[in-house]
Subunit: 309 residues, 2 copies
């Protein structure tokens, strides 16, 4: 029976100024799914590694298998049977689109096994169903960049309108301080009402960031990445957020901010060495505060998921 | 003594979804300034036509001459003397950047007469001073596109960060219903607080519009041009706004909305004939309501001000 192994990337949602509408993928970290035909109908999960037992093995409840079930139903192939091994290679609850990476890897794997009946864009809604199972609402700002690669704009949810943006030639330094920030709580903290004048600042910056991506203007990308609405609240849950930002900017970061709902933070840099310097320095700082952390350095991802075996 | 005649274009600020950050220029209407050296220091205004006597002849109070004074002071040439004739070729208080067109024409004229010591971008702040005189705050969303031509993003006011965007190959149908909507009142009506979820919809659309301009994707431009925050309030002051929109969209408009703070409305179209059909039909409708109107059809302006004599 045919077996396939797929990698799907971690993602940074919001991208500082683009709350709920922007996201991008990174080359590391990411999750891996091994999928094989079983010869009998139905989707099973035989193994999950790297999750410390936190994820459900029940195929109806796990976001990876549930999404694959939706997918098979959609293409009218519920006669097909596959087994899934999920290898978590990134922390859960880190704000790096952990569940999205797993779900997207699973969907990409089944679509490959079925000889690609759907495009990547067509698979995004199935991955959003997985998000709904994982966090209560079918956000697209992690699954869309994980599936499509690069930088993605979710212009609208109703109707769903997702547009791939140019991918900048930048490196991304990520630090995950190992403190617990559940996505639901992080969302509930955010004010429901905002000042129109602050919203104007925000959409000026969103427009500036998109312009910077199209013009490949790294300075413009950097000076557009400010968040006057959400970051002031979310940063409260992140240890020494403003100190970490100061460190990153002093070391030459293009920009710095919260990844998704946190607690992970990220910096864009022009080169790999600067990204490494930033993760090293911030990790040392967190260690001094007795906070464990994980760090990742990679280029902004261009291609989305890929077959690795 | 050398004499120059300059045209500067009318402009559409906000562009539906981009309140206070986006604007574009049109080829018609626009204002004209005739400027000549006088041989003695100081700026004078000898003639204003087309304003029905509404604009000040006092050189310190007229936005055109006051901006030219600021300009000459900035380049340390207060020894220079010029006289200005202003020919208003568009209605005042129409929401089409009437004062901006005049001010920009004056600044462009003096810069030409002085052999271009400043770039167009460098002159924008002087035009903003004129706006401050005209309406109490130095907005840039009319003066910047009038000066630079095409589509313009004002990413930020502090510091001022203006970026020229790609100009779409579109026509613009403009209808000015002759009802009075002072800019100050139109601004005061707008709610100071908005829902974050509505703001998210808005900046998704702003990002979509900017993306559409860069990708020259007219459908994306059209579906991004929705305003859930400001239009619902401002449209109250505009007679039969939603009926006019319905007419424009039925005739094939790409999009329809309020120009600046109104009462002028505009539609983007793919061709000139559709734009003409729209202005004709809307004008007929307004005439039936006993509301006088003026209409304009032209391409989106590419070049900004120009010497015409």
């Amino acid at each position: 029976m045919r077996t396939i192994k797929v990698f799907a990337p971690a993602t940074v949602a919001n991208v500082v100024c683009g709350f709920d509408v922007l996201g991008f993928a990174v080359n590391a970290p990411g999750d891996e799914v091994v999928m094989r035909f079983t010869g009998k109908p139905g989707v099973t999960i035989s193994k999950i590694t790297g999750d410390n037992g936190r994820l459900p093995m029940n195929a109806d409840k796990n976001t990876v298998s549930a999404s694959v079930q939706h997918y098979l139903k959609h293409i009218n192939r519920t006669d097909v049977g596959v087994d899934i091994e999920l290898h978590k290679k990134m922390p859960i609850g880190s704000g790096l689109g952990s569940s999205s990476a797993s779900t997207v890897a699973g969907l990409f794997a089944i679509n490959e096994l079925m000889d690609r009946p759907l495009t990547a864009m067509e698979m995004v809604p199935f991955a959003m169903k997985g998000e709904e199972l994982a966090c209560g609402f079918g956000h697209a700002d992690n699954v869309a960049p994980a599936m499509l690669g690069g930088f993605v704009l979710i212009r609208s949810y109703e109707p769903l309108d997702i547009i791939k943006l140019p991918t900048p030639n930048l490196y991304c330094a990520i630090v995950f301080p190992d403190v617990d920030v559940p996505t639901r709580d992080a969302r509930q903290m955010i004010r429901k009402n905002v000042l129109l004048k602050d919203a104007v600042v925000q959409w000026g910056n969103v427009a500036g960031l998109v312009t910077g991506l199209f013009m490949n203007d790294i300075d413009l990308i950097g000076r557009s990445m400010h968040d006057v609405l959400v970051e002031p609240t979310r940063s409260i849950l992140i240890p020494d957020f403003y100190k970490m930002r100061e460190m990153a900017m002093e070391l030459g970061a293009v920009s710095f901010g919260i990844s998704g709902s946190g607690p992970s933070v990220f910096a864009f840099t022009r080169d790999e060495q600067t990204a490494t310097n930033i993760t090293t320095k911030i990790q040392q700082h967190l260690t001094g505060l007795h906070i464990a952390s994980q760090t990742y350095v990679s280029a902004v991802n261009q291609e989305g998921p890929k077959v690795i075996g």
